[in-house]
């Protein structure tokens, strides 16, 4: 007799669990070795806490009342609960705080698309270390985690969350018009970006600049190309990126980092550097992260912060694809 479970959730059986356990252990070992202590937080938070982190994109999809009428929420990511934890439990201790986690988060799904309602994330948060050093450290931990997972071919995309917001301001595009452009940017609809920009009344030359920027991805040389396209917003973003990239170079950690001016993440709390992780064996993004220098302030502690999260199941899938590929080559 079959007893169904909700779409977007799944059971894990022993063979898979054994592999997942090895992967979990390898990741936590990397995090702990670099001074990131593991924490756990409740899966249920007050809705007010989750909403404080991000009123829009990361708002929990599952909210309900408890027996005394309080509005509770299933957490939609781990960054916001950890921000709450640091503000509450580490108020008296000296930053930076290095924390890591391996935990489930809960998201809304679109029906019949194989999306997960419950997904396991493995990640770190570095709270109290500013850019660029803090960003460099987080990227180094991410690289070590990817190595530990056997994903030597994985690539980290490094972009800037503030670039387009500031560029649009510079162009005088605001309000709904700016949101429309940012939405087409987020989905990387280049045809739409250009249409939306022209509709917002900016010159076609500026629209072309904006589209050309989104296509710049590669090594350090693309920062030069970006500066060639001009503008104060581009100047500021490339300066931030180049600081981070040079920091990585000094630590010998820049080889697998691809600077990407087309990157845009959908969580509202990001500022400055943003990250995405890819593996050639998989068509999906393995994880992401970045700086969220304004988030802690919403919890009453003004500390710069950065972190990343990997989707454990996708890392596991990539692991299998990579090992299959390795087997095929022989």
């Amino acid at each position: 007799m079959i007893h169904p479970i909700p779409p977007g959730t799944r059971d894990v059986l022993p063979d898979e669990m054994r592999e997942l356990r090895r992967l979990r252990a390898a990741l936590i070992e990397v995090f702990e070795a670099r001074g990131y202590g593991e924490v756990a937080t409740p899966a249920i938070e007050y809705d007010e806490v989750m909403a404080r982190g991000d009123g829009r994109a990361a708002r929990s999809a599952y909210r309900f009342f408890d027996e005394s009428g309080e509005l509770l929420a299933l957490r939609s990511d781990m960054t916001v609960p950890i921000a709450r934890l640091v503000a509450s439990r580490y108020a008296a201790s000296e930053p930076p705080h290095r924390l890591c986690y391996l935990a489930s988060a809960y998201r809304a799904v679109r029906p019949q698309r194989g999306q997960m309602r419950e997904l396991v994330q493995a990640g770190v948060e570095l709270i109290g270390a500013p850019a660029p050093e803090g960003t460099v450290e987080v990227i180094e931990v991410l690289e070590a985690a990817l190595d530990a997972a056997g994903l030597e071919r994985a690539v980290i995309g490094l972009g800037d969350a503030d670039l387009y917001r500031q560029l649009l301001e510079e162009f005088g595009v605001e309000g709904d018009a700016a949101d429309a452009v940012l939405a087409s940017l987020a989905t990387h609809d280049l045809v739409g970006i250009e249409e939306n920009l022209l509709q917002a009344g900016i010159a076609s030359e500026q629209a072309e600049t904006c589209v050309a920027l989104t296509q710049l991805r590669g090594g350090k040389e693309i920062l030069e190309q970006a500066r060639g396209l001009g503008g104060a917003a581009v100047e500021r973003a490339t300066a931030r990126l180049s600081e981070t990239y040079e920091g990585l170079e000094r630590r010998g950690a820049a080889d697998r980092v691809q600077i990407d001016l087309g990157l845009l993440r959908d969580l509202g709390y990001y500022s400055g550097a943003i990250l995405e992780v890819y593996d050639p064996a998989l068509g999906h993004v393995l994880g992401g992260g970045g700086r969220y220098d304004g988030l802690m302030q919403r919890f009453g502690v003004d500390l710069p912060a950065a972190g990343f999260a990997l989707y454990l199941d996708r890392v596991h899938t990539a692991q299998m694809e990579e090992s299959r590929r390795g087997g095929g080559d022989r």
Partner: protein, 226 residues
């Protein structure tokens, strides 16, 4: 930079391009030829679905399957109609280029000289709309503040209003001949659609040089996307 280039040079075999069969097929092959990709094998009467040519793998499929293959990376890049992309707007693919061909219009149509559509809206507050594009239709009527009852059909949608299934239809129109022959006329134009060049999100990042080069060639081949 050198280390970077070396690490980026990894590739997993030839780029896989999803080619739409059907209405866009002939013009897709023409634009690929113009971009230097030999499509002679696809033009024969081969029953094969996969072709190796000019250092690429061309995979032929229904246009509406292209976003599915490209989203998961089963194809790195593809060509399909904007109508398909709009209907499947929840699929995450990067839309890189308007190829300009395959131009047609998504329209609201109803029986010629017949006010059933208007009457349904006035007296019943609701139009019954038959379509193969439920999401586009839903979004369009929602954005214009009108209520509809959506009837999804798979085959010739022109049939629906003729036999009383729905007051009007939302459908793709190229020349308008099919509508005319069935006693239907265009009432409203919803959006103009052309063929688009799309890419998988990860392939766009990890195989940037190859994809950018092909984008440039396709832009030139399609006349700058105009």
């Amino acid at each position: 930079m050198s280390g970077f280039a070396a690490s980026r040079a990894r590739s997993d075999g030839p780029l896989k391009l999803a080619v739409p069969r059907g209405a866009l097929f002939a013009e897709t092959l023409d634009v690929l030829d113009a971009a230097g990709i030999d499509t002679s094998e696809l033009r024969g009467d081969s029953r094969s679905l996969i072709f190796e040519t000019s250092g690429m793998t061309l995979v032929t499929m229904r246009p509406s399957d292209v976003p599915t293959y490209v989203e998961v990376g089963a194809a790195d890049i593809g060509i399909t109609g904007k109508d398909v992309l709009l209907e499947q707007s929840d699929r995450i693919v990067y839309e890189l280029l308007d190829l300009g061909f395959g131009r047609c219009r998504m329209v609201l149509a109803a029986r010629t000289g017949n006010d059933r559509l208007g009457e349904a809206q006035r007296r019943l507050g609701m139009m019954r709309i038959a379509t193969k594009y439920p999401r586009i239709a839903e979004r369009y009527f929602e954005s214009t503040g009108r209520q509809i009852e959506l009837i999804e059909v798979k085959g010739s949608v022109e049939l629906a209003p003729l036999v009383g299934l729905g007051d009007g239809i939302v459908d793709l129109v190229a020349t308008g001949r099919t509508l005319e022959e069935n006693g239907l006329e265009v009432r409203e134009e919803i959006v103009e659609c052309t063929a688009r060049f799309v890419a998988n999100r990860v392939a766009h990042k990890l195989r940037s040089a190859e994809i950018d080069e092909l984008t440039t060639k396709l832009r030139e081949a399609s006349g700058g996307g105009e």
